[in-house]
Symmetry: C2
Subunit: 348 residues, 2 copies
């Protein structure tokens, strides 16, 4: 085996080879590799030696995080979601699962669908499986009652979700800074009369994104017309209606840049602007939010959008949960950065 | 308690009150209600009597399905998906979970993302939790290698997915009959020159839907021009390109009805037809497939579409799995009906 070249190591982004690499190269299951490396379980001596040899050859070192997992009871973590595993939870969950899969930890999901009784039932079921940690995620980044009651000491993390009482670590996207990225970009491409078309007032996301919009404008010495800041719902139809409001009145000069609360609104805005005989991006540049490719790439022109990097939130949550399972105490609120993905709707 | 009016019973659609109703009205958890009704576990006599009294008052009868679950080991079923819990798996999973939640059975999901090694790992993890049954679901209804190896006798169901070897029960939507519904509807609103714009050839869904299209046309004594049946990808952009092909050549009369392989294609077709100065539905009626409301309702006009009723597949899977856990042997392939949801794109 030493004569053969070592195949490439999977999972870029983690430092060095993982137990997954050892298992793959030794031709055994993850469970077997884990037993061999930890000197646990019943294995044939030959298998154990083969695994150890591969581990030495590729320089596998169980890291601190992986080691901390050996103290766990079930090598299982639970996820409960009120998003029904939709557009927002999905990238978070996938990233979370990647982190744990590399260490042979199972992730089980339950779907809470905003029903408190159902949620309690799910938590009971997960606790019944002796989970080592719990991740709570949601369709909306709004504050919510804490999950519970939970056994003292069970690590809990809220992702894209926040407990009302601040009792646990909460990981969120920095939506306010994300909105500022949109404004900075619109200013950079020459827009001066900015509008903001967004979703329902009651959403935390609407408030965060709007705050970021106004704060960034102020930094640039600009100010939006009050009549250019409008709330409605999250649909394309609302985006189209908003254009009639923003461009229909002769009272103030129409906007030359529109920051939209999500990509569906942005798509409606773009279509309606085009139908007024104006050009996007030449006459009006448009930025969306969420970077939902089904929308951003099908629109004409494709939409520049703010990405919340939900996979980063998931990875961060995975790493934090492993550290907490290992005994570290982590709490508080942490916001991770958004990024701007540039497309033709602002290319001027 | 007998003097109080009985609150309304939850979960319409199931016959009679469930154990969930008993638990709620007695103010106890589902687990407690289950123990009390089955005479298991350690409970205070007072609690047990209260639960029994509520059960009698509301006429709760444990049904055969629920009874069969008492034979299970863990009151847990597993779901593995290669859909990453996206658009197709989601309604299936929700329905499945409804069925099991009523009986206090936990449903744990794992995400296989088309990676066979990861899938094997997930199956091992679920088996480690002593699941009573397994549901396999997917992003595409294509045939796939069977999941395994599994312990003999473990009930397994494939939903929107089919094992290559026919080894287990597989529940699918009758996409061929769904396509026929689209054709029947287009004929009924007066279309005679039908086109079919669909996705990549290699998808089982493309083949099923196309077969249904041609068979239904033949039933009506119609035949599509070969140049009017075109395959591309699943995007709006392809729908727009296809219109240039279908309406651009002067060789044959352009179609007056277009059946599209999915709703994104239909949306692109509708936009491009409108941009040629033709009216949808007057000049060209358009039907989509999947009934994905983000697309069907945002299009102008909104799109008539075929719904695969994935929630029905989920419910049927839940009931079948419970029966199998109870000892019934069920296998083979079962296709459930699709329905047509009419909107303005065919309203003439």
């Amino acid at each position: 085996m030493t004569d053969q070249p070592i195949p490439s190591i999977s999972r870029a982004g983690r430092h060095g080879p993982t137990i997954r690499d050892v298992a793959r190269l030794a031709g055994v299951s993850l469970g077997t590799a884990s037993k061999a490396l930890n000197g646990e379980g019943r294995l044939r001596q030959e298998t154990r030696e083969k695994v150890m040899q591969v581990a030495r050859e590729i320089g596998y070192r169980p890291n601190d995080l992986a080691q901390s997992l050996h103290r766990t009871r079930s090598r299982t973590v639970g996820v409960i979601s009120s998003d029904a595993f939709g557009r927002f939870t999905l990238p978070i969950f996938q990233a979370l699962e990647e982190v744990f899969a590399d260490e042979g930890v199972a992730v089980f999901m339950c779907n809470a669908t905003d029903d408190p009784e159902r949620e309690r039932q799910h938590v009971d079921q997960l606790l019944g499986k002796r989970i080592d940690g719990l991740v709570v995620t949601a369709r909306r980044a709004d504050r919510r009652p804490p999950v519970g009651p939970l056994p003292a000491g069970l690590p809990v993390i809220y992702v894209y979700s926040e407990p009302e009482d601040g009792s646990a670590l909460s990981l969120l996207a920095d939506e306010e800074a994300g909105a500022a990225l949109a404004v900075d970009h619109l200013v950079a491409v020459g827009c001066r009369r900015m509008a903001h078309v967004t979703g329902p007032e009651r959403f935390e996301a609407v408030q965060q994104r709007r705050n970021g919009f106004h704060a960034a404008l102020a930094r640039h010495g600009l100010k939006a017309e009050p009549s250019h800041c409008v709330t409605g719902n999250w649909s394309e139809e609302w985006g189209r209606q908003a254009v009639a409001q923003l461009f229909g009145s002769g009272a103030v000069a129409p906007p030359d840049g529109v920051f939209c609360g999500n990509d569906q609104i942005a798509r409606g805005v773009i279509e309606a602007v085009r139908e007024r005989g104006l050009s996007v991006p030449q006459d009006v540049a448009v930025v969306g939010f969420d970077n939902w490719q089904v929308m951003t790439e099908a629109a004409r022109p494709p939409i520049t959008s703010i990405d919340m990097n939900l996979a980063d939130l998931g990875r961060e949550a995975g790493r934090a949960l492993i550290a907490m399972i290992g005994g570290e105490a982590i709490s508080g609120l942490k916001r991770l950065p958004c990024t701007l993905v540039q497309r033709q709707s602002t290319a001027r």
